[in-house]
């Protein structure tokens, strides 16, 4: 099996070699006929894939870790997450709504070695973002959903890559999943499985017709059948950069303008600035609408799933480029068109048989700020860097704002994914005007 191809760098020797592919599953047999039914929001996310990479600085403690220990820990770990070790099937009635059969098939594990050290790799990355894709082995679900794993893990000594089907849950579940692995490696016992929201059919009371408003945050794509990959024609590229605490402070004050006593939060400031920047290079009124995806911090329960994502739409009537950055920031903060109910109703009206994308319909700003990436502990070490993004994005593009480990967590790490042509211009603009100016 080959690793996903990406734009290759012209190195003579392979960067990733000695590749071994196998499966890891739950150590204890799951009761037969256990199933999990994804909710409507889960199904709306089915064409998206969360990808993440964790980097650890080399440490003598890691020298004693063997793949046997890692695999043995994984089997204990996956007892807690037996749901994700299942495979999708379709109900024969009900227009073939997908469900997860918890048959212990497992996640796919890939072990590989890298020709570069962590430091060399991170340096290479700053020039060529696409290299990061090499550290993740993940294939989309399909062409036969009964035989496609939902989660791929790639272990390369001291980097861990994850490819996670978004239909299972959001980034917080994925992050909790990986952090639990760290705990199991340290010798903790597996806890009880996370409670995932299950689909419950809601009956509309008779005489009441459910009002359907088409959500602005989804876009129909060509039917994908059982191959859960959206057919997108535009070539997307990514560009990532760190923002230090000082840079961020300056950006925030620029955005807050007159309201210096009540500064705009970091995420919203970044949204406003990048929105304006991208709008310069987008034509038409496409740039007047953006989607904001955040985590609902009010729901502090232990339920991790796509239900906790807050998806909202921000619309502006006037031109974004000419708008005042303060106004844009205020609009983003208000973010008052919530899409959750609309999405749910829309998916249910189609009985779960719809093929849509959510990320990238409009320019999508995604906040991963509250995700506990740096709480992962391996042999007492936290990762030196963690990178996450979503695959299968529409040509509206997406911006991911992640926490960093530097600056006491006050800085940010931003990844922007846009169509190739737009990205080059945006990258230049950001480097010249925005990041430069704030130093």
């Amino acid at each position: 099996m080959t690793i996903e191809s990406s734009s290759s760098s012209s190195t003579l020797e392979p960067l990733i070699y000695n590749v071994k592919l196998s499966s890891v599953g739950p150590g204890e047999m799951t009761r037969p006929d256990t199933i999990h039914e994804p909710t409507s929001i889960d199904l709306a996310m089915k064409l998206h894939y969360l990808k993440g990479v964790y980097y650890f600085k080399s440490h003598e403690a890691f020298a004693s870790i063997t793949i046997v220990q890692i695999k043995e820990a994984m089997f204990r770990w996956l007892c807690q997450f037996y749901v994700i070790c299942g495979r999708f099937r379709r109900f024969s009635e009900d227009s073939g709504r997908p469900y997860l059969k918890c048959n212990d098939c497992g996640a796919r594990l890939m072990e590989a070695e890298c020709a570069k050290t962590i430091e060399e790799w991170l340096e290479l990355l700053s020039d060529d973002d696409s290299l990061e894709k090499k550290l993740i082995f993940g294939q989309p679900i399909g062409p036969q959903i009964e035989y496609s794993p939902n989660v791929y893990l790639q272990c390369g000594g001291i980097s861990l890559g994850l490819s996670w089907a978004h239909v299972l849950g959001d980034v917080h579940l994925a992050s909790f999943f990986i952090n639990t692995w760290g705990k199991i490696m340290a010798g903790h016992k597996p806890g009880s499985p996370p409670v995932l929201a299950q689909y419950t059919k809601e009956e509309t009371p008779p005489g009441q017709k459910r009002t359907l408003n088409e959500p602005l945050s989804i876009k129909w794509v060509d039917p994908v059948g059982d191959q859960w990959v959206p057919s997108l024609t535009t070539k997307m590229e990514s560009f990532s950069f760190h923002i230090s605490a000082t840079q961020l402070g300056r950006l925030q004050s620029k955005v807050s303008g007159s309201k210096k006593s009540d500064p705009v939060p970091p995420f919203e400031s970044l949204c406003a600035i990048i929105w304006q920047c991208v709008a310069k290079f987008k034509t038409g009124t496409e740039s007047n609408v953006v989607t904001i995806v955040k985590h609902d911090s009010c729901k502090k329960n232990k339920k991790f799933d796509n239900e906790n994502q807050v998806i909202s739409i921000v619309k502006t009537k006037c031109s974004v480029v000419e708008s005042d950055i303060e106004e844009l920031a205020t609009l983003v903060m208000k973010g008052d068109i919530h899409e959750h109910e609309k999405l749910k109703n829309w998916v249910e009206s189609e009985k779960g048989a719809l093929d849509v994308i959510v990320y990238g319909v409009n320019l999508t700003f995604v906040s991963f700020e509250q995700a506990a990436f740096y709480e992962l502990e391996l042999k007492g070490q936290n990762p030196v860097h963690a990178s996450y993004w979503v695959d299968g994005i529409g040509d509206g593009g997406a911006v991911f704002v992640l926490p960093t480990s530097k600056d006491d967590g006050k800085g940010r790490f931003v990844t922007i994914t846009l169509p190739e042509k737009e990205l080059i211009k945006v990258k230049h603009e950001l480097k010249e005007n925005v990041l430069q100016a704030s130093e």
């Binding site: 099996m1 071994k20 196998s22 499966s23 047999m29 043995e72 495979r87 098939c105 035989y147």
Partner: protein
């Protein structure tokens, strides 16, 4: 109503007949004693002593000494020529770790990826898995878990070390045996035979003595476990005050068939990792603590018949890939081999009642040409426990039918097939371990181990339990025995 009362009457008649014939010597002895004692008792007591001591007065010293010497001589001759008792002190089965387990879904998914150009072969494997009687906890070696499988020689050696050393360490713990105390070492592994041999690998690992008698049996199939026991017995007859360690295993890594011939894909679905280490001894001091005593080993080889010889055959397929081909006549040949084996075993183990019935039935059919059905001796009279090689569901079904065994008699075999798969020569030991773990093994219980294998061979071993076995906490079944027995459906829904 009358039919059932008739059959009940017949049952009691048969029971009465069996009791009488099996204890005929006792009956005769009692009759003789009664016929002597009763008249004597009628006479006077004092006369008895006179009558007995009268001849002795005529003997002189020389005759007395000769008489005593002859008694001592013949009893010594008898004791010396009696074959040494061979004891099974203890045995240990390998328990694969959880990471090597293969649930059905994982097996089918990997199969689909590895054989993506052969959907028919995948379909065939799925149908086998549905009906095979295996469970979700059987294990394959690490090299076979990879996509695609990577069966190198190094991986094979790794598997051998994992299985054998693990079983031996358990055996040392259970028995308190020290490696340097081992006098005889016999290893049987049919399909993996490197140089230096697996027995040399063990000598190297545990630093065994330089005068050890080591043997490595390869190519002898699933019945090789009992062949090793037979060899150990012969050696222990020749060498007094010795012990022997027998290792029975099958190394799966090099034999995973990677082609598409159906007859050769079948072993992939059934064979799983497993191994056993057994300690046998003829030492006096082990008599007290040994679990079993070996009574008989009966070996039957049908290799003289071409069809039997070719029914389990290792060969290359048209694409050059090596695998083991199983012929469609396997069941018929196995039934024939069984008949041949029990013809020899029957007279050794069956009680006199069954043998007489068999004799009458034989005389009636052959000499008087009466249209009787051939009488199948009731082996349940001879044994309390049966360990039938878990070669596959069909083998166990066939034997259950032929020997008229109940579900409980074949439970150990079926459950071993479910939990561990077909572990080849070590499956008999997993089955024995199951019976022990269930607490069913009592002192005096007789066990029949029967194995089939390529050649075509059918080998039997008969053991008698030396002391009631307490179910231990460190066997291969310790963490799952409470779940068993399970109901195994005819066809599993995947």
């Amino acid at each position: 109503m009358s039919l059932s009362s008739n059959s009940v009457k017949l049952k009691y008649l048969k029971l009465g007949y069996q009791y009488f014939v099996n204890n005929i010597l006792s009956f005769l002895l009692i009759t003789i004693m009664a016929s002597i004692t009763l008249p004597v008792l009628r006479n006077d007591h004092t006369n008895i002593i006179d009558t007995i001591s009268h001849p002795l007065d005529h003997l002189n010293l020389l005759q007395l000494l000769t008489f005593t010497f002859l008694i001592i001589f013949f009893s010594t001759l008898y004791l010396m020529s009696k074959p040494r008792s061979i004891y099974l002190v203890d045995f240990a089965c390998y328990k694969p770790p959880v990471e090597l387990q293969v649930p059905f879904s994982t097996f089918m998914e990997h199969s689909k990826i590895n054989l993506k150009d052969n959907p028919k072969a995948v379909e065939f494997q799925m149908r086998i898995i549905e009906r095979a009687g295996l469970g979700e906890e059987t294990s394959l070696p690490p090299a076979i878990h990879l996509i695609p499988p990577n069966p190198t020689m190094e991986a094979s050696r790794l598997e051998a070390e994992l299985v054998i050393f693990s079983a031996m360490d358990s055996l040392f713990r259970n028995t308190g045996l020290k490696p340097r105390e081992i006098d005889i070492l016999i290893v049987n592994c049919s399909l993996f035979s490197p140089t230096p041999s697996l027995s040399a690998m063990i000598v190297n690992k545990y630093k065994l003595r330089s005068n050890i008698r080591s043997f490595n049996l390869s190519g002898m199939g699933c019945s090789a476990g009992l062949i090793s026991i037979d060899l150990a017995r012969d050696l222990l007859q020749t060498h007094p005050n010795s012990n022997a360690v027998v290792i029975s295993t099958e190394i799966i890594t090099p034999n995973y068939y990677q082609g598409k011939e159906r007859a050769m894909l079948l072993p992939n679905c059934l064979f799983r990792m497993g191994g056993a280490a057994i300690l046998l001894s003829n030492k006096r001091r082990d008599r007290g603590r040994a679990k079993y005593r070996l009574v008989h080993v009966v070996r039957t080889h049908l290799g003289g018949d071409d069809k039997a010889y070719r029914c389990v055959y290792e060969e290359q397929d048209p694409q050059g890939k090596t695998g083991i081909s199983l012929s469609k006549d396997l069941m018929a040949i196995a039934a024939g081999a069984l008949k041949s084996n029990i013809t020899t075993l029957g007279p050794l183990v069956l009680p006199a009642s069954e043998q007489l019935l068999f004799l009458f039935s034989l005389i009636g059919r052959k000499i008087f040409n009466l249209k009787w059905k051939p009488y199948i001796p009731d082996f349940k009279q001879a044994f309390e426990h049966f360990c039938i090689h878990a070669g596959g569901r069909a083998v166990i079904d066939e034997l259950q039918k032929n020997l008229q065994l109940s579900a409980e008699h074949v439970e150990a075999s079926r459950m071993t097939l479910h939990r561990f798969g077909n572990t080849s020569s070590s499956s008999l030991w997993y089955e024995l371990s199951y019976i022990e773990a269930k607490g069913r093994m009592k002192k005096g219980d007789r066990v029949w181990q029967i194995a089939f294998g390529s050649g075509f061979k059918c080998n039997s071993a008969v053991w008698i339990c030396n002391s009631t076995v307490k179910s231990t906490t460190n066997g291969a079944w310790n963490d799952c025995i409470q779940r068993y027995p399970v109901h195994i459906p005819e066809i599993v829904k995947l």
